[in-house]
């Protein structure tokens, strides 16, 4: 792309403030969400189905298929959101695109290796209606996070007064994709693999939270709260399994 922002800086980090890393206004960011939403429609319907399917498959112990399904939206968002559009606005866009593609590759690798999957979650949900209780907070929290990312995230923007196509959708926009992935990973992975699979989604939640903070977006706390909840739950799961 000819008008992609050249990879940048930075030199002395003391020469920059948080606001220097957000070189666009809230209006431009909302227009970006809107343009991506408009140009992707009606793909939203398919990505929502895909998100729900990945969540259910992971819960039912079909983690490898779930990871394959999840890899597609990460790659799609990396290319269509970051590489094709966000990179016009921010030199870091290319790096974010790369990170999303790495996450997609990582998910495919997990699926291929079949490692790090938590068989406990699937076993308990099949064996008893109290499965979620037996698995405890990480599973319940994971399902809530995943459900929130896939099903609730699209209504946040419109409820905050944004236009319909500014609604952020799993598989179309990065924030719900990251939040839902955190939840799905919590449901079906464990150990080092779980931490590794959550690293990029967590980092993105932090970056987008700081970006929204600079832009003074009403929903700033949401990705940050999702990241904090995910870290608490993964710690809980790690300690429990130790």
């Amino acid at each position: 792309m000819t008008d992609r922002v050249a990879a940048g800086p930075l030199g002395d980090s003391g020469s920059y403030a948080l606001v220097d890393f957000v070189p666009f206004t809230a209006e431009v960011y909302l227009r970006l969400l809107e343009r991506v939403g408009e140009s992707s429609w009606p793909l939203h319907l398919a990505t929502l189905v895909l998100g729900v399917a990945a969540m259910i498959l992971m819960w039912r112990g079909r983690g490898r298929i779930a990871c394959v399904l999840l890899a597609a939206p990460w790659a799609w968002v990396g290319i269509t959101f970051f590489e094709q559009r966000y990179a016009q606005l921010n030199w870091a866009g290319g790096w974010f695109a790369g990170a999303f593609l790495v996450q997609a590759a990582g998910l495919l690798l997990l699926a291929a290796m079949g490692a790090a999957f938590d068989r406990g979650a699937a076993t308990t949900q099949r064996s008893a209606h109290s499965g979620i209780l037996q698995q405890g907070a990480p599973l319940a929290g994971g399902l809530i996070l995943a459900g929130f990312g896939v099903l609730a995230y699209p209504v946040i923007g419109p409820l905050s007064g944004s236009a319909l196509f500014q609604a952020e959708t799993f598989g179309i926009h990065p924030d719900p994709t990251a939040v839902a992935t955190l939840g799905i990973m919590l449901v079906g992975l464990r150990g080092f693999g779980l931490w590794l699979a959550m690293l990029i989604p967590l980092l993105w939640c932090l970056i987008t939270g700081l970006t929204l903070y600079v832009l003074d977006a009403p929903w700033t706390p949401i990705p940050l709260a999702a990241a904090v909840l995910a870290v608490v739950l993964v710690l809980w799961k790690t300690v429990r399994d130790a």
Binding site: P9, S15, P23
Partner: protein, 310 residues
Amino acid sequence: MSFTAERRRVLKLIAAGLAGGSLSPRLLLAARELPLTKLVASNGRALPVIGMGTWQTFNVGRDEQLRRACTEVLAAFVEHGGGMVDCSPMYGSSAAVMGFALDQLGRPGSVFSAEKVWIRDGGETRRQILGQAAQWGVDRFDLVQVHNLLAWQAHLETLREMKQAGEARYIGITTSHGRRHQEFERIMEQQPLDFVQLTYNITHREVEQRLLPLAQEKGIAVIANRPYDGGPLIKRIQARHQVPAWAAEEFDCRNWADFLLRFIVSHPAVTCAIPATTRVEHMHENMRAGYGPMPSQEIRARMIRHVESL
């Protein structure tokens, strides 16, 4: 405006010009409808005291709707005889959008193109500047600055060569948010510069102590960035307070844009301020601040006291 009011306005303009202590002797008093200008010491070009920044505001990518909105903002700037437009490679697509807007407006001659070099590799100075020039659609920039002192030694050396070769008219350095002032001062003392750009507004006046006097002493033009402290200053103050009546009486101050911008550009060392906006009505407000009489030294002190009391 009535004749009496207009006469009072002209008398204030003259009085402001004679105030001496508060205004640069280089200040030119313009007739009505002409913006107030100051001269760039190194070759005497007159620059309107209100320029425009493009940080965040012109970074809209290829969004046609927002590009047209940016063009309208630039049109308002040009309508008022606006001069300096400041941009940087750090500002994403701003240079390309500026090029688009200039094309739409038929390349207005009043625009003074100010760019920056912002890259760690000191050997890439010329390449980056040429890339930015291609986006603006200009052969050369009026001013090229080293952004945030990044790799400044190497960049300044190349910029001096470019200036000598006629590839840039002026050169300079920038900082913002009050960062690295000691190093900035050393560079101002040791390097030949036409311009410096720094943060100066009514709530951030640290540069009054050393950098602004040094710029005056060395004949370096000064661009004041973040005149509204990035926006929150004027938003906060406008939302809660009226412009004091005495300000209207003393220097025909009509709104907070007048108040805050005239405070900055009435400093004798400051050549221009570069507020940024996405809104045409705000651009008109900003530019009108460059037409009025300027506050005297005493009034400037009163302005500071007033803002601190809010």
